[in-house]
């Protein structure tokens, strides 16, 4: 800097600025011009790098230069503030002062924790990227999940980041602090102390947490008059009552399907719902792994009103009304000789297979199993207990233990008790910890009008929902990924829930809130849980024991011991009630397959997950059979008015093949009014019909057609195979044994080489996938797993209706046979990664190409969106971003994204990649260790979630890979292989094992 410039005098500038600020608006601008008119400022404005900034150069006095630079920066800031009219928000960059051990940026960590549904734990591993949980996997060491993962758990990460979650404590809608609530609570408690807590009520959902149970016990000691109520709208009420009826005590029942050769499911969807369904599905499918070497298979009879994934897997499925299943169970018990019931009845369907099933069960004593559905009345449970005991199944396929619930009660009576107290004005303080009783309590209870009768009402929940609206205080609940806790699983094994992230908002867990009622109200959740277990496991090794328990996600040896309760004499003395329709219909209430009892209504992933069988999204419906629809004169989408017990509900009809005639299945959980932006106004609310008289099914429903049409968003319109039988190859076990190849007859696979292009030799890896249709239950866990892993956008009902759903893997459902009870087949369809991929040929810009490892890669950046590839894809697995579907805006949802997968923008095509990010991760890790990727290093997301291990992915060049072995099976076939696409994803044909004694 030769021409030593005039030094900038900051003081002068400041003075000018101050002068400017004092003046009026016009003068301000004039004075700014004046200010900027100095040569220094003009230079500053015009040049990107003002002369002073070069002060760092070597030919200048360093200190001087630096000072100049700093001055200049100051001036720039001052001017910047003037030049830009908006103020940038302050942002902080927070580097690690001490980098946590094990944390390598870009490399995820996995922590064991547990989700709960109905209080029962599902052990999971949460994937954490730099401190933010992004994905849930099953915990292989947890007995309930065995490494698989259901949709509810998968979608819980979206629940964590849901922008609609309650963020702050509110009192009458005004924001308050936890301290304010604590003050209010303590003063109310002080009052209660004088009354021994007689006006204190705690309402929770089902609690299996030992810690919470001990907290409640401590509270009960402090306030002897306190009452603890539990209400779970879709809980196993009948199973509890059935155990009491059979054994005279509450007993926990669970099954071991790995020993079961003949299974009879009495309206039980044990493969896809219930606390241990993942484990049952695994065990069940292990006995269906028919190979050329071992052609053995179990046999499943299912009796149910509405087709479920379990019904679709049945070797014999009998459609009966829910109320007739009691008679069926009675008849089966009679057939087995354990009860004296009728052998004939009005409804011949009930009795037509009894003899054959009974003989089959008797042939397999100790290897048979009768499962009563959770929604079936106590008598059916009692009958199942009696049959299992008589067949010698107890201890082999059926196990009993003490209840896993901390305080098993008849929850309906418990809620009724609370209601009476509320109406009597006896409740001063009502703490509702979780749940949404105002929405989901029996309609005749009038919970919404009873709750406001309590003086101090506080509701702890994730969302400010229907119940919160009635409560003075709403307390934001911490998500399970934000809090410490514990819970038992189906066999009593305890899991410690550990948080993955600090609460995003001001949420606190139920344990923390309960702690406020104890003598040490300030103790944190961690201290409470750890303190409880320290008391359970005293000794010097507690720290290491605790660390192991938290690390493993299960506390070894906490499974409740199996016991063999004695059947009471009066167990099955009660005769089945008559369930004549009398010209009316049967109402069947069931938890929704995707949003359950309504708690997941604001979860877009679950709302958009096509429900098994119906493939409905975003809605429930009045599901009826084709014959009933004909009788009512309706088609799918026509509106019905449903009248039952003085209540009525308008709902659209959905005609479901395989549904029993004369009944209407209503899935609970829809019709929310305060669930959040996603769930509000979706579907209609069957809780408005559901009374305490019959929680699950009852006759006496009337349905009449009313004017109006409703538009459903179903992802599959055509389910019939007709001439295209080769889409789903199926056969019976007998046919398979005779000639395995007969199962895949009709598949014409052209010889390799029937293409103009020379074959590619795969030197290194050659990825491939095989899907065993005989194992797949159609539960759709793979779909949610894929959504979570691959940042797949939620598009909303209107877009789903326009067939624009973005799922990379879908589960197709096909029907074959009679419309009133067709065979139902499920088929997961990811990208086939064709060797001769039709999509690659037609892309004009080379945006989709074949990789050297056989993957059909999609280059989002290159895609211009001609959509020709999708037209030419015979499997229609390609998905297109018709709009900007991905959410780039919502701050909390940004945390959700998997950093290893591109978030796709508008106008580009996308599709299944075989989780190429996982492949590359494994390849890098293997390369670092100087080896090849081995079998088991890579699991695609769908594969990892699959409870039945139906999806197998691997290296086709590895002679030991499972996928290669599966592809060598004679049941292996390629979907639409006759098109010479040479799909890399192939299917193993599905088999049925019908009982030859059973006739249609």
């Amino acid at each position: 800097m030769s021409d030593s410039p005039k030094k900038l005098d900051l003081a002068e500038v400041r003075e000018s600025l101050a002068k400017a600020a004092r003046g009026s608006g016009r003068e301000y601008w004039r004075s700014l011009e004046h200010l900027a008119a100095t040569p220094e400022f003009e230079e500053l404005l015009e040049r990107e790098f003002p002369r002073q900034a070069i002060g760092w150069s070597e030919d200048e006095d360093r200190a001087q230069g630096r000072r100049n630079f700093l001055k200049l920066m100051g001036a720039s800031l001052a001017l910047g503030g003037l030049a830009a009219c908006t103020r940038q928000p302050t942002e902080y960059i927070m580097p690690y002062i001490r980098q946590p051990e094990e944390l390598v940026l870009g490399k995820p960590l996995f922590f064991a924790t547990a989700t709960t549904l109905n209080g029962v734990a599902h052990g999971v591993l949460a994937e954490s990227h730099e401190g933010r949980p992004t994905k849930i996997e099953g915990n292989p060491e947890h007995p309930a999940t065995l490494g698989a993962c259901d949709s509810f758990s998968q979608a819980s990460v979206l629940g964590l980041y849901d922008p609609d979650r309650a963020a702050t404590v509110t009192q009458g809608g005004e924001i308050r602090s936890w301290a304010a609530f604590f003050d209010a609570l303590r003063s109310a408690l002080a009052e209660q102390k004088l009354k021994n807590g007689a006006g204190l009520r705690i309402l929770t959902e089902t609690v299996t947490s030992p810690t919470m149970a001990s907290q409640v016990a401590a509270i009960q000691k402090l306030y002897p008059g306190v009452k603890w109520h539990q209400w779970e709208p879709a809980g196993p009420h009948s199973a509890r009552a059935g155990a009491k009826q059979a054994f005279g005590q509450f007993v926990n029942t669970y099954y071991d399907l790995s020993n079961a050769q003949v299974v009879v499911a009495l309206d039980s969807d044990f493969l896809a719902s219930g606390p241990a369904s993942l484990r049952y599905a695994r065990q069940f499918s292990m006995r269906r792994r028919v190979t050329d070497a071992n052609p053995q298979m179990n046999r499943l009879y299912v009796v149910e009103p509405m087709p479920t994934p379990t019904g679709a897997k049945a070797d014999h499925r009998l459609a009966l009304r829910a109320g007739d299943i009691e008679e069926f169970a009675w008849a089966l018990a009679t057939g087995l000789g354990v009860a004296q019931g009728p052998k004939q009845g009005e409804n011949g369907d009930i009795y037509k297979w009894i003899g054959a099933i009974a003989r089959d069960l008797q042939r397999n004593k100790g290897a048979g199993l009768v499962i009563a559905g959770e929604q079936q009345p106590p008598l059916v449970h009692a009958l199942a207990h009696v049959m299992n005991a008589d067949m010698g199944n107890v201890g082999k396929t059926v196990f009993y233990s003490d209840p896993i619930e901390a305080n098993p009660v008849d929850q309906l009576a418990s809620l009724q008790d609370l209601l009476n107290d509320l109406n009597a004005g006896a409740v001063d303080v009502l703490l509702i910890l979780g749940g949404n009783p105002a929405f989901n309590a029996p309609v005749d209870f009038g919970m919404a009008s009873a709750i406001p009768k309590a003086r101090l009402r506080a509701h702890l929940s994730l969302y400010n929902d229907e119940t919160s609206a009635l409560c003075e205080w709403h307390l934001p609940e911490a998500h399970y990924l934000e809090s410490w806790g514990d819970a038992r699983t189906f066999d009593g094994t305890v899991s410690i829930q550990q948080p993955l992230i600090e609460p995003l908002y001001e949420g606190r867990s139920a344990i923390q809130v309960l702690q406020m009622l104890t003598e040490s109200p300030e103790t944190g959740g961690y201290a409470v849980v750890k303190g409880y277990w320290a008391a359970q496991h005293p000794g010097a090794d507690f720290e290491s024991w605790w660390r192991l328990a938290v690390h493993d996600g299960v506390i070894a040896g906490t499974a409740l011991p199996a016991k063999t309760p004695a059947i009471q004499g009066a167990a099955i003395s009660q005769r089945p009630a008559s369930h004549r329709l009398g010209g009316k219909l049967e109402a069947i209430f069931r938890p929704d397959p995707t949003i359950y009892d309504g708690r997941f209504a604001n979860n877009g992933w679950l709302q958009e997950l096509p429900k098994p069988i119906t493939k409905l999204t975003w809605d429930n419906a009045a599901i009826i059979s084709p014959a009933t629809a004909h009788r009512l004169g309706v088609e799918s989408g026509d509106m019905l008015r449903l009248n039952y017990e003085g209540n009525s509900l308008n709902a659209p009809a959905w005609v479901q093949p395989g549904h029993i005639d004369g009944a209407v299945t209503l899935h609970l959980g829809y019709g929310r009014t305060r669930s959040g932006r996603v769930g509000n106004g979706m579907g209609f609310n069957p809780y408005g019909l559901r009374g305490s008289k019959a929680l699950w099914h009852d006759t006496g429903l009337e349905a009449v057609k009313i004017p109006g049409q409703y538009v459903f968003a179903s992802t599959q319109m055509d389910h019939v195979l007709d001439t295209r039988r080769h889409i789903i190859q199926s056969g019976t076990l007998e046919e398979y044994k005779k000639n395995p190849l007969s199962i895949i007859e009709g598949i014409e696979t052209p010889e390799p080489g029937m293409t103009l292009y020379p074959p590619w030799k795969y030197e290194g890896y050659a990825w491939g996938m095989a899907i065993d249709l005989n194992a797949c239950t159609g539960c759709s866990a793979c779909v949610t797993a894929c959504v979570a892993e691959n940042n797949i956008a939620v598009v909303g009902k209107d877009q789903v209706r326009r067939s624009r759903i973005m799922h990379w893997i879908r589960v197709d459902t096909y029907y074959n046979g009679a419309i009133n009870n067709p065979d139902i087949y499920n088929q997961p369809v990811p990208c086939m990664q064709c060797e001769n991929a039709p999509c690659e040929l037609v892309c004009p810009v080379q945006a989709t190409n074949h990789s050297s490892e056989g993957l059909n890669d999609m280059v989002y950046n290159r895609c211009v969106g001609t959509r020709y590839c999708s037209n030419n894809c015979p499997y229609k697995v390609r998905r297109f971003n018709f709009y900007l579907f991905s959410d780039y805006e919502t701050p909390s949802l940004k945390l959700l994204h998997n950093p290893d997968v591109t978030v796709r923008s508008r106008g580009v095509m996308e599709k299944c990649t075989y989780c190429v990010q996982r492949i590359n991760y494994a390849k890098i890790e293997a390369e670092k260790q100087g080896r090849l990727v081995q079998e088991g290093d890579i699991q695609t997301s769908c594969q990892a979630a699959c409870p039945t291990e139906a999806i197998v992915f691997g290296n086709l060049n590895d002679p030991n890979s499972r996928v290669l072995k599966m592809k060598a099976e004679k049941r292996n076939y390629g979907l639409l292989a006759d098109l010479n696409t040479r799909p890399r994803t192939t299917y193993l044909a599905t088999l049925r094992n019908p009982n030859p004694e059973v006739e249609g």
């Binding site: 290159r862 020709y868 098109l979």
Partner: protein, 461 residues
């Protein structure tokens, strides 16, 4: 169309234009349309309709660019809907212009002289409308240039196996050649306008456009060579463009698309719809501007005969398509045709059969061909039919292909319609602007049809 002479009778020069015209009156009548200060109400009405629809088009396109192709009814599995239908339809319409100007020129069909100018303009504007759609239908239209092989730092080139890349070349070549042919043909007439206009600005503009045409013998000699060469260039395009467009479908494996007879079928269909459009434009124009003497009933008759002939080729293709579906024994092909005839798109299919095959049989009758009003109605029927044909081929084939699980029915949205009618607006806007600003009939070529010109030729000969 090498077999064209069989269809079209050898023209009798004396019948081509009405008697009584002189060189001067021909020039006067054609040039007056442009040079007059008075604009007919008919023109104003048509131009206004075009302009209004053009604004609708602009609005629809703005919305499309702002929001994405989701505003249309396309979905999985029908990823191409109105946009590609319209593209193929418009390209097809353009074909008549090229056929008239190039092939008929080479075949010395002199009756073409009265209609070639506006037919070429029609081609140009139809191609302009058609060209919009492949761009607009892209998910990211701003990246359309990636379809061109241009040197770039990524060293990525288009994928030459894709018919869409062939389309790019075919259509851009077609547009270029059509424009050149049209413009070169305009030169002498532009000079005429330059010389006759009294408006300084118009003289300046026509002067620039006429590129210094003075009508010297040397000019005429070069002109004749150039137009013959361009005709030679354009002739294969008549066949190739729609052949390449048909490859968009035949190369794919979609049942209902994947067949070998699409190229001739598409070319015939293109000329079919193109002549329908020529009639649809010529009949009102000659009525309004009193050009019955130049565009005579003979022209209309000839055009109708071409329509009849190409319509029969199209009919043959439908029959063959059905036959092949059955004869192949391919379950998908069979189902595709069966669904087309009986499925959700059956109304569209049977309507197109009526419009394209059944009703046009009336053109066998001279009484129909000789009534311009009826011919106009018939040309509209054929245009509708041909649009439906493209729609049915594209949409019904995609909607129901291999896996029944993914079947879904395309329902056009209002923006589909807005874009479609919007391009009709663009077409009308451009065409009526052309009518007003440039001679719609080739002055100098019509003059060669006059008996006076014939005499000279004979003298020379």
């Amino acid at each position: 169309m090498p077999d064209e002479p069989q269809v079209v009778e050898p023209p009798e020069p004396k019948q081509l234009i009405a008697p009584g015209y002189t060189f001067g009156s021909v020039t006067d009548q054609i040039a007056t349309v442009v040079l007059t200060g008075r604009t007919p109400v008919f023109w104003l009405a048509c131009f206004s309709v075009g302009l209004a629809l053009l604004f609708l088009f602009l609005y629809a396109v703005a919305l499309l660019l702002a929001k994405g192709v989701g505003i249309w009814g396309i979905r999985v599995p029908v990823m191409w809907g109105f946009a590609i239908t319209n593209f193929v339809w418009w390209i097809g319409i353009g074909h008549a212009g090229t056929l008239i100007s190039a092939i008929l020129l080479l075949l010395n069909q002199r009756w073409r002289n009265s209609i070639n100018r506006f037919a070429e303009a029609m081609t140009l504007f139809a191609v302009a409308c058609a060209g919009m759609f492949p761009l607009l239908h892209l998910g990211r239209p701003w990246l359309f240039y990636w379809l061109f092989p241009y040197p770039n730092t990524m060293n990525v080139q288009p994928q030459f196996r894709s018919p869409l890349v062939w389309d790019v070349f075919a259509v851009s070549t077609y547009a270029t050649v059509s424009f050149l042919f049209w413009f070169v043909g305009l030169l002498p007439d532009l000079a005429t306008l330059r010389d006759r206009t009294l408006n300084r600005f118009a003289r300046f503009a026509y002067g620039i456009l006429a590129m210094g045409w003075r009508g010297s013998a040397r000019h005429w000699s070069i002109y004749e060579t150039a137009s013959l060469l361009l005709a030679g260039l354009a002739t294969p395009l008549v066949l190739s463009v729609h052949t390449v467009v048909s490859f968009d479908f035949t190369i794919a494996i979609v049942p209902g698309w994947h067949s070998t007879f699409f190229p001739p079928y598409f070319v015939a269909g293109a000329i079919y719809s193109g002549f329908a459009m020529v009639l649809a434009l010529a009949i009102p124009l000659r009525a309004v501007y009193g050009l019955q003497g130049l565009i005579t009933d003979k022209h209309l008759d000839n055009s109708a005969k071409v329509m009849l002939a190409t319509g029969l080729i199209v009919a043959y293709a439908y029959i063959l398509e059905t036959f092949t579906a059955w004869y192949s024994g391919n379950v998908y092909e069979g189902a595709a045709i069966w669904n087309r005839m009986t499925g959700p798109y059956a109304p569209a299919y049977w309507m197109l059969i009526s419009c394209n095959i059944i009703l046009p049989q009336a053109l066998w009758f001279k009484s129909i061909r000789s009534r311009p009003v009826l011919l106009f109605i018939w040309s509209m029927i054929v245009l509708t039919g041909m649009w439906l044909e493209r729609y049915v081929i594209i949409v019904s084939s995609l909607a129901q292909d291999f896996l029944t699980s993914s079947w879904s029915i395309f329902v056009p949205t209002r923006w589909d319609w807005a874009t479609y009618f919007g391009t009709i607006g663009l077409f009308l806007f451009l065409f009526f602007a052309f009518i007003r600003l440039l001679p719609m009939i080739s002055i100098f070529e019509v003059r060669t049809l006059l008996p006076q010109a014939k005499v000279e030729e004979e003298v020379q000969g």
